[in-house]
Subunit: 337 residues, 2 copies
């Protein structure tokens, strides 16, 4: 185990704001990003927590994000709100569109928030949980840079295209999942490469489109979707809904920001909110309670709910503060001066 | 190959109507069911085509469906229409709710049709394709009888919980998928049993919750979801959205109609329609055209689109008529007198 450090939520917040503002982000963006990465770090999802500040800074240095962009909120239709992120980070755009999304869902039953032209680096679950904490069901999806081959294909085309879902549970943490439609995250393959280990079969293909267990060949080839042709179909659906439906690009049309400034890191995101109160009227509480039977039966046979470990970590962080590797802490401190 | 017979679309339609009306279905239900199974048979999806008429008749004989039920359409909210199928078949309920669903999606951007208290036996893709043929995006899901264990669990709890999606393509057949969230259909395991063959590992567990390759033990145990914990999470989402959200039951609360009339075959279905025209305004045509780049790139690397084989069969059936096994034809004829 590497050495760790524990910070109070307040100190971790100051650190994050300092890192972002020292590297060009205006206050509004710095605060929105900080709220997200702190929420994620609190739940001990290290891959999408404070660690991501390094990428936010690097992207800004590479010119891949407008650190002062002012998102434009557009009231598109009774159930549709759009936010043009104007090449800024997606998180401020989400926060600015959320109020209308919630209002529309409560009026019409379900509504969509489309975010366009955004730099996106974050876990989706904080956004769907922002909806379930308001008593709504949240679904979010976004394409990403094209690292994944479609089922039966040989080349990268689809993004890792994550989908997240959160269902409000009376009196307890919500039922939430958030996963990439690739078998694993790209970072997982990079860890195998660093450790000099072979990856399991079924994760990736090489540049010739052949199955491979070499992480090096996998990174030069393409990752595969989870669940074969079914996962590939879902990934395609995500790319269509969070791409052309909202007037934004496809995964293969984006690429990470780079030092040559030829990257095109901007793409779309789609968030759907559904109101059980509108669907069910005065029966809503009874049916939400009835959904608990499903969760009880899952737990009752020894299976786990998707975010259980995360909610346990949350309890711990709220009591004892936020834990991060000492090396990461030092790296973040270095970014503040 | 078993012997086959080819019927004109008109003769196949008469046969289906005769089977259903001779066995108690009123004209409205017989016509709605016939439109569905003929559409499916035309595309040579034999498992959900005319073969399903036998089950429709058996369910009626077992008292598991009201063959004269008059669905009630409820205008729930600006983006929500509900249809109470009143223990009749789901297909007439869908047809009666579809007009309001389409209208609402065109007004608000996206809308939902919730069908309650329905006997459901049919493929979902004809319903989502009924929406994409109107220029809308369709998503449909339904729970089913509990044959599937959650990831990490040991017992049947979830339905095979299918999800279908259809995206309108300018000038060609839509992009459509429709799949169960179980690894395979239950009928597939029954085929292995009949052939005396072992099933692949990963399809099912036995009654003790242990992995099995015996189709007999699998049928007495539980099927598994596709894609491990990710598929299990999706299946849970489907069960929540097409169950408690619409005020209907969970998969484990249903069971097939049986001779003892203790079955509870009624459950819900959720269909979502999304209007690209509302999301995109005058840019809709351009972005729908842009989505074609994704399909071209999938096909260009030698992969196939989900329903390609079906659309090829459709062309063939429209030219040459509908093909079905002679044995099935004889069985259907026997049900008409």
């Amino acid at each position: 185990m590497s050495e760790e450090i524990t910070l109070s939520l307040k100190d971790a917040e100051s650190l994050s704001l300092n890192v972002l503002q020292h590297n060009g982000y205006n206050q509004a963006h710095a605060e929105a990003i900080t709220r997200n990465v702190l929420t994620v770090q609190r739940d001990e999802c290290h891959s999408h927590g404070l660690y991501r500040l390094i990428g936010c800074v690097q992207t800004a240095l590479n010119g891949g994000v407008d650190t002062h962009a002012v998102p434009e909120v557009i009231d598109q239709a009774p159930s549709v709100v759009k936010v043009n992120a104007r090449q800024g980070n997606s998180l401020l755009a989400f926060e600015m569109g959320k109020e209308q999304l919630v209002e529309k869902a409560r009026q019409t039953g379900l509504a969509a928030l489309a975010i366009n032209n955004a730099f996106h680096f974050s876990a989706l679950w904080p956004e769907v949980e922002a909806l379930s904490s308001e008593g709504l069901i949240g679904i979010a999806m976004t394409p990403s840079h094209a690292f994944v081959a479609p089922a039966g294909g040989t080349k990268p085309l689809l993004g890792t295209n994550p989908i997240a879902f959160s269902w409000p549970r009376p009196g307890s943490a919500p039922y939430t999942f958030d996963f990439a439609t690739s078998v694993v995250a790209r970072g997982e393959i990079e860890l195998y490469k660093r450790a000099g280990k072979q990856i399991p079969t079924g994760w990736a293909i090489d540049a010739q489109g052949e199955a491979t267990t070499s992480p090096v060949d996998a990174l030069a080839g393409a990752m595969l979707t989870f669940g074969g042709y079914k996962g590939s179909a879902l990934s395609t659906m995500i790319e269509l809904l969070a791409g052309p439906l909202i007037g934004d690009v496809l995964g293969h049309e984006t690429q990470p920001a780079n030092e040559q400034k030829t990257g095109k890191p901007f793409h779309g995101e789609l968030i759907i909110a559904i109101s059980p109160d509108v669907f069910l009227g005065q029966d809503a509480a009874r049916h939400l309670q009835h959904a608990e039977v499903l969760f009880e039966n899952i737990l009752g046979q020894g299976a786990r709910l998707p975010s259980q470990r995360r909610f346990e970590a949350r309890e711990n962080s709220l009591r004892n503060g936020i834990t991060l590797p000492k090396a990461l802490y030092n790296e973040l401190i270095a970014l503040t001066h």
